[in-house]
C-alpha cells in the first residue's frame, strides 16, 4: 500500500479523512459538509481546515439537531449536491433515525429508481476511555440491517482516506464509521487519486489454521491476537472487511474453505450483531468445508459501563479473540 513514488505521507486516521474531504471537495464542487462545530474542525478534528479552504457555503455549521442535519442532507442529495453529514458520536444518529431509515435508505427504491441519494453519514463509534453508555456504542448492526444503506468501517489511515473518497463518489447513502480509538493512529497514506472501492476486503495476515474476520478497531486487537496465537503455534489468517455493505464474501469464503475454522469479531454487542450475519452466511455457504462451528466475539449484552473494570468486562479485546481462536481450534 505504501508507495515509494512520493505520493505517500504519514498521517493520522483523522487527518486522512480531512485529506479525503479536501480532495473530494476540490474535485467536485457539489460536495458540501454539514455538521455541528465543523467550522472549528469537529469533535475529533475530522473537518479541520475545511472552512478556510471552502468557505461557509460548503462547510455548514449546523444547529444541534441531528434530524435536520440528516433531512437537509437528503434534500440536497436528491437535488444535485453530494452532502457529507457529520454526527460526531454515532449515538447522535439515533436522533435522526427516521431521516436515515425512512428517507435516505428508502428513497431510491420507493420512488422506483427515479433518484439516488448520494450522501455520506460520518459518525465516530466505539469505546474510548470511559465515555459511558451514551458515547461508547458501536451501532453498525442497526445500519447493516437496512436495505438501501451501504456501511464501511476502516481500520487504518490509508483505508480511512481511500474509503471516504469511494463513499463520497458513490451514488448511494453510505454510513462511514470511524472508531474513536483509531482516529489518532498514524500510518502511511497514499495521497493521490487513491480509492479503496466499497466491497473490497483486505487480507492482513496469511495463515492456515483459522480465519479471523473483523473490521474497524477490532483489526488492531486481532493483529495482537494473531501474534499471541503464533507463539502458541497457531497461524491465523486475518481479514479486514473494511466494507460491511457491500460485503466482499469472496475473500472471506476463499479463506474459510482453506482453513475450515472461523472467528468473527467486532466491538459491538455480540447478540444480534453483524457478526451473527457473517457467521450464518459463512456457515450457509461453506458448511461442508467447516471443521467447527464459527465462534463470535463481541461485547457482552449491557450498555457500555463507565467504570474501567466494568468497561473491560463488557468490551472485548485481543484476549477474547485469542480465547475464541482456541475454542474454534478445539483447544479449550
Amino acid at each position: 500500500m505504501a508507495r515509494r513514488d512520493g505520493t505517500t505521507r504519514r498521517m493520522t486516521f483523522g487527518q486522512a479523512t480531512v485529506d479525503a474531504m479536501g480532495y473530494a471537495m476540490r474535485e467536485d464542487d457539489r460536495v458540501v459538509v454539514l455538521g455541528e462545530d465543523i467550522s472549528w474542525g469537529g469533535n475529533f478534528g475530522q473537518f479541520r481546515g475545511l472552512l478556510d479552504e471552502f468557505g461557509p457555503d460548503r462547510v455548514i455549521d449546523m444547529p444541534i439537531s441531528e434530524a435536520i442535519i440528516m433531512a437537509v442532507s437528503v434534500g440536497t442529495a436528491v437535488t444535485g449536491l453530494r452532502p457529507v453529514a457529520s454526527m460526531s458520536f454515532v449515538e447522535f444518529t439515533l436522533g435522526a433515525m427516521d431521516e436515515i431509515v425512512n428517507q435516505a435508505a428508502k428513497f431510491r427504491y420507493m420512488f422506483g429508481g427515479q433518484v439516488s441519494v448520494p450522501l455520506v453519514l460520518r459518525a465516530s463509534d466505539g469505546v474510548l476511555r470511559s465515555s459511558a453508555g451514551q458515547h461508547s456504542s458501536s451501532l453498525e448492526g442497526l445500519f447493516t440491517h437496512l436495505p438501501g444503506l451501504k456501511v464501511v468501517a476502516p481500520s487504518n489511515p490509508a483505508d480511512a482516506r481511500g474509503l471516504l473518497r469511494a463513499a463520497i463518489a458513490d451514488d448511494d447513502p453510505v454510513v462511514y464509521l470511524e472508531n474513536k480509538r483509531i482516529t489518532a493512529k498514524r500510518g502511511p497514506v497514499p495521497v493521490g487519486d487513491h480509492v479503496v472501492p466499497l466491497g473490497s476486503a483486505a487480507v492482513r495476515r496469511r495463515g492456515s489454521d483459522l480465519t479471523i474476520v473483523t473490521y474497524s478497531v477490532m483489526v488492531l486487537h486481532a493483529e495482537k491476537a494473531c501474534s499471541q496465537l503464533a507463539e502458541m503455534g497457531i497461524e491465523a489468517e486475518l481479514i479486514d472487511l473494511r466494507s460491511l455493505v457491500p460485503l466482499d464474501l469472496d475473500t472471506v469464503l476463499s479463506s474459510v474453505v482453506r482453513t475450515g475454522r472461523v472467528v468473527v469479531a467486532h466491538e459491538a454487542w455480540e447478540f444480534g450483531g453483524f457478526g451473527a450475519e457473517l457467521a450464518s452466511t459463512i456457515t450457509g455457504q461453506a458448511f461442508d468445508r467447516l471443521r467447527a462451528a464459527p465462534v463470535r466475539v463481541g461485547a457482552a449484552q449491557a450498555p457500555v459501563p463507565f467504570s474501567p473494570p466494568l468497561e473491560r468486562a463488557v468490551v472485548p479485546g485481543s484476549d477474547e479473540i485469542v480465547a475464541a481462536a482456541r475454542e474454534v481450534m478445539g483447544l479449550t
Binding site: W40, A67, Q134
Partner: protein, 326 residues
C-alpha cells in the same frame, strides 16, 4: 425593592452556600481530572451556579429535575450528597450509579434528580413525562428541565414545549444560556437572539433572566414553579450566563477570546452575590469565609470517601440490564 422582599435571609444564605458548594466541588473535579484521577471526561458548571442554586431552592425534595451533560451543579443543588457524586466520577462501586454512569449520568431518583444526560435536550420530554405523571397521580409535583442554548434547536425541545403547553403540564424549562454549544456561538446556529421568544410559538410565558443573579433566578423560578404547581402550565426561562471553563476540562478554547472570558469572570456570580448579601447586611466577611471553608471540608471528605471506596467488580457488569430475567 430590597432583597428580603424576594426571599428570606435564610434562603439568601442557603443559595449562597449551594453556589459555593458547587464551585468548590467543581474546582476540585477539575484538579482531579487534570491529575488523571477521574476516567472519561468532565464538563464543569463553574460560572453558572446561580441557576441551579436559585432554581432548585424553589423546589421541594420530591419535585423533579432533568439535567444535562453539565449536571454536577444540578445534582448538588437538588440535594444529592457529595460523596456518592464524587465516587461516581471516580467510577467507584459506592457512586450514585454504582460506577455505571460517571460524570455525564449522575442521578439520584430519591431526591428527584432524574439524571444528567449525555444527549443534548434529552431530558426535556422526560421532564414533561414526569409532570404528566405527577398530574395523573395528583401529587402537585413540579418538573424542571434544564438544558443549554445549544439544546434549544433540538426537535425534542420544540416537541416537549408543545406537548407540555397543550396539556398545561407543570414543567419549567430552564435554558442555561451560556452563549456557546461546544465551540460554536449560539449566534451562528439559532434563528433568534432572545431565546425566550420561542415560548410564544407554544403560547406559554417566556422570560429572559439574569442567570448570574440568584435573586432573579430564584424569583422567576418561584413564579414559574408556582404556576406549574397550580395547573397554570409550563414556562420557558432563558437564563443568561457564561461558563468560565472550557466545554470540557482540557478544551483549548480556541473559539473564544480570552479577553471575553476574563471580562465574564470579573462578573463572578458568587462574588456578586456575596457583595449583595453584604450590602443587605446578611453576610459578613467572616461568615463568607466559613461557608467556603466548610465547603472545602465537605468536598475533601467526598474525595476521601471516593478514594477509599472499591472499584466495582467486573463480574457484576451484567447486573441491572433488566429488573429480573425470568
Amino acid at each position: 425593592m430590597s432583597l428580603t422582599d424576594t426571599m428570606s435571609p435564610g434562603m439568601a444564605l442557603g443559595i449562597h452556600r449551594t453556589m459555593v458548594r458547587i464551585r468548590v466541588f467543581e474546582s476540585r473535579v477539575e484538579e482531579l481530572f487534570k491529575a488523571g484521577k477521574l476516567p472519561g471526561f468532565v464538563h464543569t458548571y463553574i460560572g453558572q451556579e446561580a441557576i441551579a442554586a436559585g432554581v432548585c431552592a424553589t423546589l421541594n425534595r420530591d419535585d423533579y429535575i432533568t439535567s444535562t451533560h453539565r449536571g454536577h451543579g444540578h445534582a448538588v443543588a437538588k440535594g444529592m450528597e457529595l460523596g456518592p457524586i464524587m465516587a461516581e466520577l471516580y467510577g467507584k462501586a459506592t457512586g450514585a450509579c454504582r460506577g455505571r454512569g460517571g460524570s455525564m449520568h449522575v442521578a439520584d431518583f430519591s431526591v428527584g434528580m432524574l439524571g444528567a444526560n449525555g444527549i443534548v435536550a434529552g431530558g426535556l420530554g422526560i421532564a414533561a413525562g414526569a409532570a404528566l405523571s405527577a398530574r395523573y397521580r395528583g401529587t402537585r409535583q413540579v418538573a424542571v428541565g434544564f438544558f443549554g442554548d445549544g439544546g434549544i434547536n433540538k426537535g425534542t425541545f420544540h416537541e416537549a414545549l408543545n406537548f407540555a403547553a397543550t396539556h398545561r403540564l407543570g414543567v419549567v424549562f430552564v435554558c442555561e444560556n451560556n452563549q456557546y454549544a461546544q465551540f460554536t456561538s449560539r449566534l451562528r446556529t439559532t434563528s433568534v437572539e432572545d431565546l425566550s421568544v420561542r415560548a410564544a410559538a407554544y403560547g406559554i410565558p417566556g422570560i429572559t433572566v439574569d442567570g448570574n443573579d440568584p435573586a432573579a433566578t430564584y424569583r422567576e423560578s418561584l413564579e414559574a414553579a408556582g404556576r406549574a404547581r397550580d395547573g397554570g402550565g409550563p414556562t420557558l426561562l432563558n437564563m443568561e450566563t457564561y461558563r468560565f471553563g472550557g466545554h470540557y476540562v482540557g478544551d483549548a478554547e480556541v473559539y473564544r477570546a480570552s479577553a471575553e472570558v476574563e471580562d465574564r469572570r470579573r462578573a463572578d456570580p458568587i462574588l456578586r452575590w456575596e457583595r449583595t448579601l453584604t450590602e443587605e447586611e446578611l453576610m459578613t466577611a467572616g461568615l463568607a469565609e466559613a461557608v467556603w471553608a466548610e465547603a472545602e471540608e465537605e468536598v475533601s471528605a467526598a474525595v476521601r470517601f471516593a478514594e477509599e471506596s472499591p472499584y466495582p467488580d467486573g463480574g457484576t457488569a451484567l447486573e441491572n440490564v433488566f429488573t429480573r430475567v425470568p
